[in-house]
Each structure stands twice: as C-alpha cells, then as structure tokens.
Amino acid sequence: MTRMLLAVALGATLLAGAAQAKDTLTVGMVLEPPHLDPTAGAASAIREVTYGNIYEGLTRIDHRGEVRPALAESWSISPDGLTYKFRLIGGVKFHDGTPFDCSIVKFSYERAVAPDSVNAQKQLFEPIESTTCPDPLTAVVKLKRPTSLFLFDMAWGDAVMISPKSAATNKTNPVGTGPFRFKQWIKGDRVEMVRNPDYWGAQPKLKAVTFKFIADPAAATAAVLAGDIDAFPLFPAPEAIDQFKSDPRFAVHIGTTEGKTILALNNARKPFDDIRVRRALAYAIDRKALIDAAQSGYGKPIGSHYVPTDPGYVDLTGVYPYDPAKAKALLAEAGIKPGTEITIMLPPPSYARRGGEVIAAMLDQVGIKAKLVPIEWAQWLDQVFMRSDFDATIISHTEARDLDIYARDKYYFNYHSPQYKALYQKFVEAIDPKTQLDLIGQLQKKLADDEPNVFLFALAKVGVANAKLRGLWDNDPLPANVVAGVSWAD
C-alpha cells in the first residue's frame, strides 16, 4: 500500500513537472531583418523583431493603434501646440547599463535629423525645432509648427530611444530599454532574446523568445504543424488556414493591419489624368470577389486611403459600387476605345500577383486589356516609386495614417490637388481633437471623390498560433510583434 501511494505520488510529481507552463516562445516570420536598428532602415522585419521587445520610445502604440505612454510617463502640450513637455520615467537603464534620461532623448532626436542621418522616416522629425533638458527627467520638445500626429509619430519604431554608446553597433548588437535583451542572431535562421531582469516595467512572463525566419509557405506550414514554431503572426499560406482551423491544437487569429491595398494609377499619364477613367476603373472592380479570390476571403473593402480601424474612419465603400455598365459608359464618355491596353506592375506579394490576375479579368469585362508585369521589389522601387515610370501597379501602403502622401509635391502616383493640400495643412495644424477627426473625414472624402488611385481593400492579418498561447496581438496597427504580455495557459 505504501509503495503504491509512493508510486502515485511520484507519478503526480512527474505529471506536475510536465504540465508546468512553458516559458519560452518561438515566433515565425517570413522575412529576416537585414539588421536590428529600426532607426536606420525601413524593413518591417526590423520592427517585427525589436519594437516594444528590445527598443522603446517616449510613446508607444498599443494593440488597438492608440498612443500610450512608454518611456515618458506623461506629457503636456502648450495651447499653441508647439511645445511638448515630457515627464520621463526615472531609474530606467539600457541593457548595457547606460542610464536613460533627457540627454538620451535629445541625442536620439538630434541624431535622426542630422545631415548624415539614415533614418528611413526622417520627415517625422522634421517639425522638431529643438529638444532641451530643464532637468534630467524632463524633456521639452519645441516644434516649428503644430503637428497633430506628433505623439503618434514619436511612437514609431524609427523614433525609439538609442544610447549614444551603442548607436553605432545596434545593427548587429541591439541595445535598448525594453523587456527583452538581445542574446544572439544566427544569420539566416533566428534571433534570440532573453528576459531583461532589470526592466523598469512589469516583468514579462516569458523567459526567452526566438524569432525564426521561414520564407517558404510550405515550410512555414510544416514548421507550425511540427511544433517548431509556436506562433506565426503573419502566416504566408492563407490556403492552409482551414487545416489549422479544424485542428484543436491551433488557434487562427484574424486581425487587421494598416495595409491599404490600392490599384495605384499614374495620374500624370494618359488616360489616368482623366477623372472619368479613374472612376470607371473603380466601378469596374468587384472588391468582394477580389478579396475572395486573391486573399482567401480575408480583408475588408475600403473606399479611401484609410483603414476602418483608424480614428475618424468614414465608410466610403459605397461611392463606387461594382457596376461594369457604368464603368463602360464612363470610359466611352472619356473616349477610351474598347481594347485599350494598360500595363499593371506587380511586386512580389501575393495580394499583388494574385490580385493582378483577378483585376485583369475584371478590367477585361469593361474593355480594358491589362498587361501584367511581375517585378521584384528593387525594380518596383526604382522604376515605379522613384522614377514614376508606370501606368498602374498594385501595392499595399502599410504605413499608419499616411494621408500625407497625397499632399506631397512629388509622389509616385502624381496626384496634385491644391484643395487636398490645403485641407491636409489644416489637419496638421489642428489642435482640437474633434476638429482633427472631422478633417480626417474630409480628407478621406476628397480622395474618394477624386479617386487618384482605386482603393481596394485593407489587408488582413492572418496568423496561426498554438491554442494555449495568450496575449498575442490580433491586429497589426504597426509592424511589431510585442511579446511582453504573452504567456502560456496551463
């Protein structure tokens, strides 16, 4: 009897050991970051590894896309909207021991606007006139002009706090103030990080996190099925999702992103300089069918350059309902003969390559022959983005709240509208949040009216994870995999 009890007790202990919650996490990503310094490169993959995990800024963006305090615990804004006074958290240290104070803020912001700066979003810092330090835990940032998105902009990965000691080596040995410390990077395979025991905020539940890079969709599926990967937040094989949905070991996370997928048109080139042609194209595309065919049904139609999850969204999807007859009539009115050829450039992502096939078929219905040209990223950037040498292209703009691109003097789709520019200027200088939201609505409506590009759909975030994982972000308000709040259910 005693022996049996012992055996039971032993068995129970063993079981308890086996059932103890796991405290490591392996996250799958399609692309490997080129390096790990978000202040020196545009690649989303850099942020997907480091944002909120290794580096932090004065403000941060939460899973709903809202601005929250980070290294600045609070702030006040002067009535004219020109002076931001940040109260910094005391006692914060970088992973290498460097103390965080106002001098770091000054260094980080000044480095971003320096003449030799290679910050990919240098324009975010352009409104800053000066950063001063009345005391070590107060940072005063003076702006040249009111900038309504300033707190939001300072939450971007490009605006994280950098220590002068490690600024030059962050690309290969990132040092920040975040809840995880960089451990090692096996190039071509994975980045490993471990819990930062000296973190100023709540200690993360996970002891160690690994980001593993798997580009091939079939290999990604296999790695999740085999348990090599615990979570794949931007899963590259939407066709395999149903398989995961029916398997109780996995949970499928469908969320939103900031990706505004558009059929961008070169407004400087015939026939797209004619508003009737642009509107005709908008009428000719069945967005619902496009999402079903090209994105396995994941994604939401949009009617302007703004996603439904952002503040101030106005539903404009009804402005150009699917109506091939109307499209044909508009094209005839504009003098476009049936059989007219246009060229659509398709960068590598599947929304473009698959979407291109579907859109070509839809345009064919209204008498436009679309020639599809698949190109790689480098060529897209060079030919389409830099030199504006294109008719049309399918592209997802993933930067959050980027209505400003339509107000720029020179941007690849060549939209020039003095009214839009004036409206955007009013928005930038608006201080009252209600006025801001109202202006955001007006900007969206102006774009839907002019239809410089055909607005297609908001890219969905389709992720797969172990069913026992808690605290993963469903949505992608900015490129990030913030894992500080992730834990395993018992």
Binding site: P115, V118, K122, L381, F385
Partner: protein, 316 residues
C-alpha cells in the same frame, strides 16, 4: 608537371577576372538602388544621398570596380550593405552549413549510386537491373524540393523524428547540427544518386565489353574479381567527373532545397542578396563560387590523372 600547374593557375586567374568583370557589369545594368531598398518608401532624397555616400555608391563605376578588386587582393571582401557585417564573415557562417551539407549529400549519393550501378551492370538485363534502373529513372524525374517536402511530411510531421526546418548552428553541438542536415542531404542526394547510378552502370557495362576484361577472365579471374579489379576502376573516370560537377552544383545550386528546409546556406544568401541588391555580396559570391567550381574541376582533373595515367601526358 610544373608547367601544367602554371598553365592551369593562369587559366584560373583569368577566368576569375572575367567572371568578376561580367558580374560587376551585369549588376550595374540591373535596375534597383540598394539605398532605396534599404530606406523604403518614406525616405527623403537627402537621406538616400547620405546612405549612398556611406555605402560608397556615389563613386563612378570604374572606381568602385577597382576598389573592389584591390580589396579582394588584400583579402578585404567588403561590408554587406544590408547586414552591415564583413562579407567574409557572412560567407564563413554560410559555408559552415553549405560545405558540410554538400559533402554529406555527395557521400550519401556516391555510397548509394556506385554499388547500385555496379550491381545493375553486373546483372544487366535481369529483373533486378530493370527494377533498380526503373527506380533510378523515377529518381531522376523527381525534383529535389518536392522530395524535400515529402520527407518533411513523413519524418518531421507524421513521424516526429527530425526537425522540419532550420539549422540550430554547430554551436549547439554536432548531433543537433547533423540532425537538421539529414533530411535536406537526403533530398539532395537521392536525385543525384539516381543520375550517378545510371552513369556508373553505363560506364561499367562499357568496360565489361573491353578486351582487357576478357583477358582477365581468360587468365582465370572470377567474374567478381574481373569486375571489381579491372572493370570498375576503368569505369570510374566519367563517374568522378560527374561527382565533381555535382559537388559544384551542391555548393550553390541548392537555393530551392535551402528554402524548403529554411537553411541559412550560401544558395539562399546569393538569392537574398540579389533580391535586396546587396551588390557587394553578390559580386563576392559569384567570384568565390566561380573560383570553387574551377578548383573542383581542377581537383577532378588531378583525380582523373591519378586514376588514368594516360591523362597525364601533355596534349591528352
């Protein structure tokens, strides 16, 4: 023999120089700016200019070519634009996977192919010969990446014996590293073995019909002894040549298999570097790979000369 070496060395050097010039010119013509790719769509012109200057891309092409070539001569392969680390270090890290993987695959494929080929040749026309050569025909037809996916499904998902993908690095120990290489090595080796077995069989059959094999048999050697001592060694030249070619292919031609298994090897490095316009890495790798192919071919020539003394004669 010294003259032979000198001649070969001269050919090697001029081939490398030609390769370096060709790859440099091709990359100049290729559209795409590395700086624009790194800074993305939000970059301002002054930021792009700053990065181009930082990377040395604002110098004229001829100067960049000379800087690169003289750098290599001093043993400096340059700094990768995207990874921001010396290219030599990248190549060393990736070779730590690609070279063992290629060796493992070549050993596996040879170990399978030569016995199968000799066996089939010795029993030419039999049912077993037909079965083996039928299997080899299937092996030739199967693409290695598809075989890789099948292997993953069987040995990583259905029977969870081996990892589905990735490479932990040799720092984790010999066995974890080897374990990760077994499936990709098999996926690479089996189609290669199929080709090699067919070539071995054909070569052995050809030598079996030669006079010296008949003489050996007439001297009283058994069929087996005549086969292994006279026919097989004489059939080895095309086999060794093919192994050399296969090794060159395995060093860099494994991009697809490396993608299927997500292995950080040289093939994927070249592929990524081209997509990201990491020009210096592409240039260095093309020259290095051209060099290694030339070197392997040279080794194969030496091996052939060792096997067949007739090949050592000048003009042969």
């Amino acid at each position: 023999m010294t003259g032979y070496f000198l001649r070969r060395a001269l050919v090697l050097l001029s081939t490398l120089l030609a390769a370096s010039l060709v790859v440099f010119v091709v990359l100049q013509v290729l559209p795409g700016d590395p700086a624009a790719l790194m800074l993305g769509t939000g970059a301002r012109p002054d930021t792009l200019a700053a990065l181009r200057h930082h990377l040395g891309l604002d110098a004229p092409a001829w100067l960049r070519y000379l800087r690169w070539i003289f750098g290599i001569l001093r043993g400096d392969f340059g700094i990768s634009y995207t990874y921001n680390v010396p290219v030599a270090e990248l190549v060393r890290q990736r070779s730590a996977l690609s070279v063992p993987l290629a060796l493992l695959a070549i050993v596996l494929s040879t170990a399978i192919a030569i016995p199968v080929g000799v066996f089939a040749a010795a029993r030419r026309g039999s049912v077993r010969d037909a079965a083996l050569m039928g299997a080899a025909q299937v092996g030739v037809a199967i693409p290695n990446f598809w075989l890789g996916i099948l292997l993953i499904l069987l040995f990583a998902i259905h029977l969870p014996w081996l990892p589905a993908s990735g490479f932990p690095g040799w720092g984790e120990g010999l066995w974890p590293g080897l374990r990760a290489l077994i499936l990709p090595a098999l996926a690479l080796a089996l189609p290669q073995a199929a080709i090699l077995a067919r070539v071995t069989r054909a070569a052995v059959i050809e030598t079996l019909g030669e006079d010296f094999v008949r003489t050996a048999r007439a001297k009283g050697l058994t069929r087996g002894a005549a086969l292994w001592r006279h026919a097989v060694p004489n059939a080895l030249i095309p086999v060794v040549t093919l192994i050399g070619l296969q090794f060159s292919f395995l060093l860099a031609g494994t991009v697809i298999v490396e993608n299927v298994f997500t292995l950080p090897g040289l093939g994927r490095l070249v592929f990524q570097a081209i997509a990201q316009r990491d020009l210096i890495v592409v240039q260095d790798l093309v020259v290095l790979l051209a060099g290694s192919v030339i070197l392997v071919n040279f080794t194969v020539d030496l091996a052939a000369a060792a096997i067949d003394p007739r090949q050592r004669r000048p003009g042969a």
